[in-house]
């Protein structure tokens, strides 16, 4: 078999560059999950990662992750009730979650 000088190195460089490009591209990809957040009683305010996202029984809540290791903080609060929270990683986001609120 004939070996072309420098061919292997060029191939290695090309592969490394391709992997780097894929990693960079995927690093910028947003990972999105939607969850139906409800509460008992209803009408509680939802915060996702410290930002207000409406009230329970509204439309589904969108949670954006930048990496699979990142965790999202969901907080639910209502006046005169103890606030509740939960951390979810990308794979842990349920379809629907009902938070039970206790009177303060």
């Amino acid at each position: 078999m004939t070996r072309i000088p420098g061919h292997n190195r060029a191939a290695r460089l090309f592969t490394a560059a391709a992997i780097g490009l894929i990693a960079l591209t995927c690093g910028g990809c947003a990972m999105i999950r939607y969850v139906d957040v409800d509460s008992n009683p209803t009408g509680a305010v939802i915060y996702v990662n410290g930002e207000r996202r409406g009230t329970t029984r509204d439309e589904k809540v969108r949670i954006q992750f930048t990496t699979p290791e990142q965790r999202a903080l969901i907080q639910v609060l209502k006046p005169r009730f103890k606030p509740v929270f939960q951390y979810w990683m990308f794979d842990e986001v349920p379809e629907k979650k009902i938070f039970k609120l206790e009177l303060d």
Binding site: R9, R52, F81, D104
Partner: protein, 136 residues
């Protein structure tokens, strides 16, 4: 030969960066506090039981505030240690100085809240504080 040297140098740079990144990690968080009626609450921030202080004014940092948290790597190399962040509500006078809530054992209208943050956690960290029913 020259190309080999350039390739080795580039590889060394990448490896060096990776090793440097693995030593400590710094993440900036925006810390704020509200009560269950979503009203802002002024708090001082503590990390590992130490109240965070502004380097220039030497005054305690109050919410809302941006802080930089340094995370140390875990000994087994599997990521970073979490850092404990807490908030303690304080009362601020007309001159914007803290007049109550800083001293040890001094009561507050709200209960303290703590959480363990990780370097990949969201930048906005909103604490929801409960009223202290025993406070007069």
């Amino acid at each position: 030969m020259a190309r080999d040297c350039i390739f080795s140098f580039a590889l060394s740079c990448v490896l060096f960066s990776a090793v440097s990144c693995a030593s400590v990690r710094q993440t900036e968080f925006t810390i704020s506090a509200i009560d269950t009626d979503e009203r802002d609450v002024t708090c001082v921030i503590f990390s590992d039981e130490q109240i965070l202080v502004n380097n220039s004014s030497n005054e305690p940092i109050r919410t809302p505030a941006n802080i930089k948290v340094i995370f140390k790597p875990k000994s087994d190399g599997s990521g970073f240690e979490s850092v404990k962040l807490g908030l303690k509500a304080v009362e601020v006078g007309p001159d914007k100085k803290i007049i109550k809530g800083l001293r040890e054992g001094e009561g507050s209208r709200f209960l303290e809240d703590v959480r363990w943050v990780q370097p990949t956690d969201a930048k906005n960290q909103t604490f929801i504080l409960l009223k202290d029913k025993n406070y007069n």
